[in-house]
Amino acid sequence: MKESSNLSFSEQSLQKVKEILSRYPQGKEKSALLPLLHMAEAEFGGWLSPEVMDYVATILNIQPIEVYEVATFYSMFNLKPTGKYVLEVCRTGPCCLRGAENLLDKIEEKLGIKVGETSADGLFTLKTVECLASCGTAPMMQVGDKYYENLNEENIETVLQSFRNN
């Protein structure tokens, strides 16, 4: 196992980690990997650096490779730094039936970036995602914890502006 760096969860998060570990039978603590990766991403700057993943490995007493292979499998984990707001626009069929493609073009145009890029001011990263179980309020995007639904080429400007004003 690698030398542990000086990364550490806050006291409060460490309590939470303990509680999470207690959810699984003894010896099956690896089950906590996904919950811990979510926590780590939230606490250490919105992405999983190799150091962060190694830290999670030490908590669970597993090999770092076991963390890397999981972190790279799941689309939710950011493996590189992102902008302050990550716009995750749904690009799947049902959203497209209600204009997701035009919406995406509009966002690219307004932010001056393409999908996968981060704006120069570091405010926005634009991503596409697959169906987020919100097809009845399509088109939609997720930003952080929140779903923005029933978007169109007009109201998207208000939404983007609300982030800029924050």
Binding site: R23, P25, K28, K30, S31, A32, L33, L34, P35, L37, H38, L60, E66, E69, V70, F73, Y74, S75, M76, F77, R91, T92, G93, P94, C96, L97, R98, V129, E130, C131, L132, A133, S134, C135, G136, T137, A138, Q142, G144, D145, K146, Y147
Partner: protein, 447 residues
């Protein structure tokens, strides 16, 4: 108005909270079961109800429960599948957001029936708000003595936890879900052994969908026979349908199984007809994985019978002229929707979501995406359509998990029913880039 079982109280203000839920007969089924029924009697009611899995496959829930290895000395687990990522499906999220205690109550009943003392609800990681709502409902249930040690003073104890996923459609497949819950990549397992014998941590496990588990609540309250009275034939009870696409009123509707499809699409109680006064072109009735049907075949079977919202009626005609009820993700296409573009979009989705373990799925989905992309973008050639059919055939039935089939069926059915539209894209590349193919006159139906 059809009968409501799951959504009876969904509009009650504050129904998310324990006290309000409780005041609407909430947790009475738990009291009834734990105090007056044995676990086997609970299972028996579920069997009698005829309830079928609402996650997509429609397998009878009571029968699945009866396969659980009760002789094993290992602990048993109930795992709720709340991964909901099948395009077009958004009923489970809706249920959890609006009436989370129904799922918690169903989890207690089902865990009791199965003899599980630890259960998990695996929720897709992106659903951060539903996760918070559910966790709050669970802690309310603990605080009120419906979870934890010796529930209601009985000898039965249950711990219930929410487990977040990480964003991977494949983790909705039950064995991939179990791998993911064990902290691994979501690679589906070879079956057998089935989870009922060796599931989570190698223990006997039942995996059920959110809606299936929630339906156990009315079944215990009113009895399995009463549930079986609702619906039609072997499609008993009610079903949540999430309707989306080009309709006036997208949303989640609880219907009695057996409702005519035409009524569902055109009545104001449900979808409210096609938007912008357009005409109906096609429907994918059960989530992106099931075959697409043109207007004439979704409204009527090949024999001219009205098509009903039921497992049997929607699959009437097999894949030649039918489809499936699936997850209840009801996707409606108007006359201006491009079938080729949508088929390409779905193929792209499956390629993106293939876990890559088996080559027919990994390579085949990539091929289908590529070929469909070139047809849609005006570079198709005449052999492409048969090539697609060929690739779809080679995937179907040759993979570890059903994602392969799920990727093949939409392509095969789109070509089966809309072949001329594909041919037109190839024949008229410039025209097809400019405008939509439209609708065959024989499909003019609706309004």
């Amino acid at each position: 108005m059809g009968k409501k079982l799951l959504f009876k109280h969904i509009d009650v203000p504050g129904i998310k909270d324990f006290t309000v839920y409780r005041s609407k007969n909430g947790y009475e089924a738990v009291e009834k079961a734990l105090k007056t029924m044995s676990p086997d009697e609970v299972q028996e009611e579920v069997k009698k109800s005829g309830l079928r899995g609402r996650g997509g496959a429609g397998f009878p829930a009571g029968m699945k429960w009866s396969f659980l290895d009760r002789k094993s000395d290992k602990p048993r687990y109930l795992v709720c599948n709340a991964d909901e990522s099948e395009p077009g499906t958004f009923k489970d999220r809706y249920l959890i957001e609006h009436i989370p205690h129904l799922l918690v109550e169903g989890m207690i009943l089902s865990s009791y029936a199965l003899g599980a003392n630890t259960s998990y609800i695996y929720v897709r990681g992106e659903m951060k708000t539903p996760i918070k709502i559910l966790e709050n409902a669970i802690s309310e249930a603990y605080a009120n003595g419906f979870l934890g040690k010796n529930i209601l003073g009985t000898s039965y104890s249950l711990d219930l936890y929410v487990q977040p996923g990480g964003g991977a459609y494949i983790c909705g497949e039950e064995t991939a879900l179990l791998e993911s819950l064990e902290g691994k990549r979501g690679n589906p397992r070879m079956k057998p052994p089935f989870p009922a014998i060796s599931g989570l941590y190698g223990s006997p496990t039942v995996v059920n969908n959110v809606e299936t588990i929630s339906a156990v609540v009315p079944i215990i309250n009113d009895g399995g026979d009463a549930y079986a009275q609702i619906g039609i034939g072997k499609s008993t009870g009610t079903k949540l349908i999430s309707a989306c696409g080009n309709i006036n009123k997208p949303g989640v509707y609880e219907i009695e199984l057996g409702l005519p499809v035409e009524e569902f699409i055109f009545s104001d109680e449900y979808c409210g007809g096609i938007w912008k006064n357009k005409r109906l072109k096609a429907v994918v009735p059960g989530g992106s994985s099931v075959p697409i049907l043109p207007a004439e075949l979704i409204l009527k079977t090949l024999q001219g019978e009205p098509r009903l919202m039921s497992y049997e009626s929607l699959s009437d005609g097999g894949f030649a002229s039918g489809s499936m009820l699936g997850s209840g993700g009801f996707i409606v296409f108007d006359e201006d929707a491009c079938i080729v573009r949508n088929t390409w979009n779905f193929s792209r989705f499956y390629h993106h979501e293939s876990c890559g373990q088996c080559s027919p799925c990994r390579e085949g989905t990539g091929w289908m995406e590529k070929v469909l992309h070139r047809i849609e973008n005006g570079h198709g050639n005449e052999r492409d359509i048969d090539l697609l059919v060929e690739v779809a055939k080679k995937i179907e039935g040759n993979t570890i998990c059903p994602l392969g089939d799920a990727a093949a069926w939409p392509v095969a059915s789109a070509i089966r029913h809309f072949r001329e539209e594909f041919e037109w894209h190839i024949r008229e590349p410039k025209e097809s880039m400019k405008r939509n193919y439209g609708i065959r006159e024989k499909s003019i139906l609706g309004a």
